[in-house]
Symmetry: C6
Subunit: 76 residues, 6 copies
């Protein structure tokens, strides 16, 4: 299973960087739990639990720190 789709941390825009952050987090989880049925089975519950959503948002925030730094924060 690919961990970094596209094989690069470089993106053209913050929007694409944010999307990559979500992708990286999802691929990590898929890598730890390769069975998609189990992943999908847990989704209704966690995605309607605020605390779980906040925890997921934290992972995305951390991944985005890395991607944003890699891209020089898209300052130009």
């Amino acid at each position: 299973m690919v961990l970094v789709p596209g094989g690069s941390l470089m993106t053209r825009t913050p929007e694409e960087g944010r999307s990559l952050a979500l992708t990286l987090a999802r691929h990590t989880i898929h890598n730890i739990q390769p069975d998609l049925d189990i992943l999908k089975g847990g989704r209704p519950n966690y995605s309607s639990t605020p605390d779980s959503l906040i925890d997921a948002a934290r992972v995305v925030a951390i991944e985005f720190q890395t991607i944003a730094a890699a891209n020089g924060y898209w300052r130009d």
Copy 2:
């Protein structure tokens, strides 16, 4: 759904940067759970639970680290 409204991490002031941090966190959560009714249904509970508020504040703090670095900490 847009993940980075405005499409940039650059803001004029720390206040606007802080606001963007809140926005980024909310858009991540909305992206994971697109059903606004479910999101609004959970809000009364988590927003009156101190531990959940602290967890949410942590996500904002992490997003703000990225935005503040992107803006050179608005030193000038």
Copy 3:
């Protein structure tokens, strides 16, 4: 509601920077839960629960990382 009172991350001393870190965290939480009565209602419980205090301290530590970096760690 103001998110960054004073509108700047610059402080004269680490002590003031630390105080600002506490302020930023509190204003985030107040922004998410604008009803002060609810916030005050939850305070006796969380502020006497060690795990909650540790979680709150973590948020302050993260905010302080940003503020300290912004101020060049007050090295001079």
Copy 4:
């Protein structure tokens, strides 16, 4: 038990860096709990619990921050 297989944080690609992040996290856990039977016994449960998977993804995200910085974010 080896903590950093290969003995280096340098990787050729983000994909390999991501893989190393997973490896580092796993070796830490194996170091704290050397009994593989206990580790494997707990796996079915945590790997089908969304909150646990999110927590694991956070550790990988933090390890990856270090590895990505070490490799200059594979910018070239």
Copy 5:
């Protein structure tokens, strides 16, 4: 209550920096909960609970990141 005893992040050694990290975390918690009796009352429980100790160690690790960066990692 003082938040940064000594008023500086500069220390002579990593050992002193580590000690300051513990102090900063403790002073944050004391600031949020000024009643020492309540703090001491909760201590026997949390300090014998591994998960709480791990959480406390995480706060110290984050504070230490800031202090270590402030001191140029005491490289000389």
Copy 6:
């Protein structure tokens, strides 16, 4: 009790740096809970609980960020 055995963040290799990260985390916990019997009493439980192991791994990951930065990521 010593918090930074060896008194330095400098290590020759990533492997030694990783080992130091584990050591720093353990010494923090030992500093907060000096009674080794209590620490050892809690160990069988937390070290066979996946969520606790993941939390411990996160602390090590954060400590390692600091140590890796201190050592210039052992790039040479």
